[in-house]
Every structure is written in C-alpha cells, then in structure tokens.
Amino acid sequence: MVQTLFDKIWNKHVVKTIEDGPSVLYIDKHLIHEVTSPQAFAGIEKRGLKIFRPKQIVATADHNVPTINQHLPIKEDLGRIQVETLIKNCAENVIELYGLGHPYQGIVHVIGPELGITQPGMTIVCGDSHTSTHGAFGAIAFGIGTSEVEMVFATQCLLQTKPKQMRINVNGALKNGVLSKDIVLYILSKITASGATGFAVEYAGSTIRNLSMEARMTVCNMSIEMGARCGLIAPDETTFQYVKGKIFAPKEEAWITALSDWKKLYSDEDAKFDEEINIDTADITPMITYGTNPGMGLGINESIPSEKSLAEQEKPAFLKALNYMGLNEGDTVLGQKIDYVFIGSCTNSRIEDLRLVANFVKGKQKAAEVEVWIVPGSKQVEQQAIAEGIDKIFEAAGFQLRQPGCSACLGMNEDKIPAGKYCISTSNRNFEGRQGAGARTLLASPLTAAAAAITGVVTDIRELV
C-alpha cells in the first residue's frame, strides 16, 4: 500500500477507530508545562483517577518564568503559584520535571529535541500549539487543549480525526541572508494564516533536505500559524546525526533497531496528497510582517498592500491591523524605527540562532535607543553560548543575554513590550497584545532582527552581509 510519511506514523498509533467518528490515537510522549496542566491534574484527581503512564510524561517550567535572577523566588504571585503547582503535581504523580534551576530546563519545544526525547516516528503532544516543532524529526506532534491533556493523563490516548494532507515542496538554493524563518514566513504570506487548517503538512524538497535540524524546527514550529494540525519532515542522515548520542536517545542495540525503523519513514514515491504546493527559493527574500497575524508578511523591500486589493470581508481586520500597528497601506516597513529587539522563543532560540546572530554582530554595537533581549531556549543553549564565548560578543554589542523561557514571545512574565513600541521579534506571533498590551510586533528572522538591533530601523540584512 502506498503511504505518506504521515500515514505510516498515524497507522502505527491507531488503537481503534469509532465508526463514523474519530480514531483512538496512542501518544508516545506527553510534554507538559505550568500554564496548561493544572486544571488537567485537578480533573484527574476529581475523577478519582491516576496518571496512566507517568514515565511517558516530561515537564518543564517555561511560559511564566522570569528571565533574570531565576535563582530567586518568582516575584509575581499567580505565576509563582502556577510553577509551584507544577512542582507539587509532578512530585505527587512521579513525573520527571526539569524545573527552574535544573540543567535541562528550558522552552518545552527546545528541550524535547536537545535531550533526545523527541524521536522520529513518535506521536508527541503538549498543551501548547507550537508542539508542531517536533515534527521536524518525522514525528506526528501537535498542540492540544487542557481537556485533552487530561485525556492523555488518564489513558495515554486521544480521540482524533485524521486530517487531510498537504505537501509543501521547497526547492532551490537560499539566497544570501535568507534563513528558514524567511521560508516559513514566505509560505504564510502566500497561503495565509488559515491556509492549512485541517491539514497535516509535510515539508519536502531540496531546500528542506539541506536545512539543519534547528532550521527545520523553525519551519515546522510555524505550521500552526497556517492553521495546520501539524507539520513534519521525513527523517534523514541530518536527523539521525542530530539525535545520535543525545541524553535520552536510544543507545547500542536499541539505536540500531530504532535506526532501521526510522529509515522507513518517508512518503512513498506515488503517495497522494490532498493538496500540493511548490515554492521556488528564487522568490524568497528576507521577510518581515506588517500586520497582526503571521500571514501578513512581506518581502523586506515590498509594500503593504492597499485596502482596494482585498475582498470585502477581509477589510475590517486589515484596517484594524494597520491602525494597531501604526502603519499605512502602500508603505514599506523598511526603515521603520525599532524600540525593542527580541531574539528568542521556541521558533528561534537554539544555539544555531545565537551563533548566527553572534557571528553577525561581532565587533558591532547596538543602536543607542534600542533595547535588545536575547533569551536562550534552554539552560543547555545558555551554557553552550557561554562556553563558545557568544555571551561576551553580545555583552560587547550591548545585547542582554537573559535566562531561558518563553519570555517576550507571549509576555506572560515581566518581559513585556510597552504599548505603542515597535519590537522586531524572532518569535511566531504578531497578534495584537501578544508581547504586551498595545505592543507592536514585527516578525522576522534572527539575522533581520540582529540587523535592526545594529541600525535601529528595519533593515535589509543583505546590505550588511
């Protein structure tokens, strides 16, 4: 039988299918954090149940944690209670927790891969929409709500309807200054923030093959921004080399068996997709967003569309977005003055991102009026950056290297962008108020963000490299 990569993993995990209904999907790994788990633990307790498979759960504290002075108690009461509740729930239920102070702590979608918890062929869920990140390893990985967290706690299973399937083929060499973030922002600008709703998206093509694991994670991470249930990439030598030797990766005999299974994970040659999209990298330049959803993106030199070019029902949201952003139709974003630069989040906070930025800013100084926050994705990324002397480069440039967490991606902790201020951000969402009430977010790659940090305005990175 001809199968897609998605079919192969899905079929292996279906316990049973309800007639004219969803399938019971078995979940291999369940990642949890402090914000979307407390109600699920309470639900389990209320029903008088026990956690069914605690060994298949890994917890961390990331969404709410401060990114300075992590050794001190969390100042803000509600955030501290959430983190303490997670500690208590994990202790009572014997769940492995990499909390504050632990050398493995970090953003849940950064630590899973770097610890080797994320492996090809798995089903992985987390109460966080960016769980799609783990699909970069050839896994079915998707975000779930808290009621679903409770279901997985109770039975290690979820009821899921099989999504339709889309393949996005990206071919060609990347132009100078163009990163994987630009690829995914470009795709989003073409298919919109709802363009893949109801689909599992496989990314394929020569460009994707040539990306590092970190870069692939950036692409899969933003699958949810197209509305996709998940995004995935067939595992290959790049994947195997990345996973090999990681702390929780299979070892010795188990590695050999796993590898032979993983090598079967690809879409068969004649596999059928419900939709197929082809992207030529010749069309991709560094990208920037201008609006309040991630589909509202432009090539760095392009102009914001005019109201006239839009369908009637699109106009209210478009005009509201421009008003919120303080931008005008027909303008370019190039040259827009920037107040904050945020380099971090589960999209772009891995060691490769920090190396790229450090390599570019070495010997340069940030613009005087700009505040620059670099928030590493995990303790391991932070330690690696220090070991490589990257911290010194940032310090010399006037950048703040902070401690790991979700930080200003969603502004749950104190790292908020003030109302009306412009922040060029390597995160994944430019929604109204995402980085703080009234904050204006421009999404971009780490290099484009770094360029703005140096010049103080939105800049075409290609002019500086």
Binding site: D20, P22, S147, T197, I224
Partner: protein, 208 residues
C-alpha cells in the same frame, strides 16, 4: 457589562456534564476574521489554576481602553447594549493561534453556549466541543446573512437536526458535526468516559 447570569449555571452544568440540544437565542455579532485566542483571552490572564472566572477577561483588550475596566470601549460589541444572547457569531478562522483552552472557558464563563463562524481553527474547535460550547460551521454566504440581521434577531441552533435557522426569515442551513461528538453533546458524555471504557484495548495495544 456584567457577565450574564447564565454563566454560573453553565459552569455548574459542565461539572455535572453539560448537555447541548436546542439553543434559541439572540446573538452577538463580531464581524472580524482571524480572531485569535490571544484576543479572546490575553496571556497575562492565563495564570489561574482552575477553569473558573475567565469570562471577566474575555476579549479584554478589545473590551476596555488602556486595560481599564472603568473605560469600556463603546465600539466593541460586548459593550453595546443592543446586542445580547448566548450565541457569538464571528468571521472566519475564529480561535486561531494558541491552544489555550482558557479561550473556550472564557467564552463559556461569559455566557456563550455556541459560536457560529464559517471556519474554526482546529484546536479551538476541539476545546469548545470538550466544554460543550457548540461550534457551528456555516457557509460564508449564510454568515453574511446573519451579520446583516438587526440586533434583536434570534437564531435557533438545533443539534439533533444539525440545523441553524435565522428565525425572522426562517432561512436555515445544515451544519456538520461528527456523529460521535453529537452523541457526546446530546448525552453529556466526554472523551475521557469513552477512553476509559476501552482501557483494555489500550493496554493490549501497548503490548503489541
């Protein structure tokens, strides 16, 4: 505007397994596409450890000026006294973005029992169903007809028959829902009830 009285009743019902059958009500029109869950409930209000009390911050940043509860934004539909009811009607791709179930809790806590749109984001749709908030998917043309109604118009959502009707004109449209989920909502079952009932199958699957 104070939370509707129905909110508390709903929360009690969900505890004892909420049922959905026929919803007949006026509606609140939110004629905006791509309403994301950060708008429905901003991240800074996700710090609760229970499911209650999120309704007061529903659409917080659209509802109030400068985050001040004393300054309701009169341009926003929840603050416009002519609109009322248990049904929220919104533009396509409602509930996109973050997976936070707090969005569904906030909608329920405020007093909505159904949301009508031409298109829902996947995770939000599941979260709504898991909280007995009925997501009703209509065609774009029908959605525009609803938006064109005057503020005292009523809708009837009939889950057993899977139809939504604009009462004043009697225009009606069928809507899709999986027969499994329909059964759950009509009877007040949830997925955990079902999954627990097949635990033997799950254990056998693990051994295979």
């Amino acid at each position: 505007m104070a939370e509707r009285k129905i909110a508390k009743a709903n929360i009690l019902k969900i505890m004892s397994k909420n049922k959905v059958n026929i919803i007949h009500s006026r509606f609140v029109p939110l004629n905006m596409e791509n309403v994301d869950t950060d708008q429905i409930i901003p991240a800074r209000f996700l710090k609760g450890t229970t499911r209650d009390g999120f309704g007061k911050n529903l659409f917080r940043d659209w509802r109030y000026e400068n985050d001040d509860e004393k300054k309701p934004n009169s341009n926003f539909v929840l603050n416009q006294p002519q609109y009322d009811g248990n049904i929220l009607v919104a533009g396509k791709n409602f509930g996109c973005g973050s997976s936070r179930e707090h969005a569904a809790w906030a909608i329920l806590d405020y007093g909505f029992t159904a949301v009508v749109s031409s298109f829902f984001a996947d995770i939000f749709k599941n979260n709504a169903l898991n909280n007995a908030v009925l997501p009703v998917i209509v065609t774009d043309a029908f959605l525009q007809k609803i938006f064109a109604q005057c503020s005292d118009a009523t809708l009837t959502i009939n889950l057993p028959q899977q139809t939504i009707t604009i009462d004043s004109t009697n225009e009606s449209e069928p809507f899709e829902i999986s027969s499994y989920k329909k059964e759950c909502l009509l009877n007040g079952y949830d997925d955990i009830d079902y999954l627990l009932s097949i635990k033997n199958d799950i254990e056998l699957f693990e051994k295979s």
